[in-house]
Symmetry: C2
Subunit: 193 residues, 2 copies
Amino acid sequence: MEAAKRLFAQHGYGGVSLDTIASEAGVSKQGLLYYFPKKVVLYRAVLQNVLDVWLDYMDVLGHRDDDPETALRTYIAGKLRFSREHPHGSRVFASEVIAGAPHFADEIERRVVPALHADEQVYRRWVERGLCRPMDTRHLMVVLWAATQAYADFASQICLILGKPELEQQDFDDAEKVIVEMVLRSVLRNPGD
Amino acid sequence: MEAAKRLFAQHGYGGVSLDTIASEAGVSKQGLLYYFPKKVVLYRAVLQNVLDVWLDYMDVLGHRDDDPETALRTYIAGKLRFSREHPHGSRVFASEVIAGAPHFADEIERRVVPALHADEQVYRRWVERGLCRPMDTRHLMVVLWAATQAYADFASQICLILGKPELEQQDFDDAEKVIVEMVLRSVLRNPGD
DNA sequence: GTCTATATCGCGATAGAC
DNA sequence: GTCTATCGCGATATAGAC
């Protein structure tokens, strides 16, 4: 599964063979096909696994009664930590979405959309309580999610921009600082620092 | 070229055959191979074309003496317009970057990185003149670019979130409003509205 | 430049022994 | 469950007539 995740991320669904995945995982192609009878079954299993982990990192905003600043800081940190710790998973998922979600739209509808709607609800309650400015929460979530995910999906380009071979913890810390600052300044009624 | 762009975006480099591209373009596979002797040559030609158009939309920030607010508004609007008008191009490019830029790192280094560095310079001058807060410009540009590009690359997921079959102009206008607000509130010393 | 024909290979998937 | 063997197909790429 981990081998498949990495290879799908690197070469895309159609760009990698079962032979390559199997040998990378230390099994035979037939052994692989015994557990995953079709290539697409393996692919969906990888995506399910990614989604499981992703949602674990995400549901921070919805399940706390923190004040907006703390909740948003935690949320952004969690999303960036996912990008840092599961870059391949993020990339497989991103590739699938870029392709138009041909093999996973049903699960996105079933699991991702409700999670984001729950986050929107939390934000709306903050607005009602006068803690946050009224904003288009759907697009706010899109921006938040795009900004944090970029550090996994587009790492190769960010590396070229930063002039280094790979992203380090410091880069994620810097990114977190910028994103947190942008979000807090735009949503809080009385930005702190 | 347009057919190849759309198909590479939809299925990835390894997920589409020359036969499919050729028939979609109304030529024979051999006719295609006459002009692009290798598949990877066609692919790179597509990426070059995307990059040409992309840079046209991007160099707005660097080539004007506008005040920061006007320049940033124009820049964000331009990036979103690219996402709106060239979604397939954006997706091909994103796929290549997600894969680690195996076929295009040299051109990104040569053309994209300098463009972004120029934008950084513009921002630094604004800071020196006291017009903007000091920020990590590299990450600011990453966030800006990720947020705007998401409306092309991840359109399928955003559609699921918004509950509609495809993005309309109104959605891009809403996104622009949110992104502009976020950016201006965080970089300007005296945000207007 | 465009066509027919074809070489050569690797792909996903299956069959059946053990 | 794992192995060897193999099917059938479609892929990139080339050769050569016209």
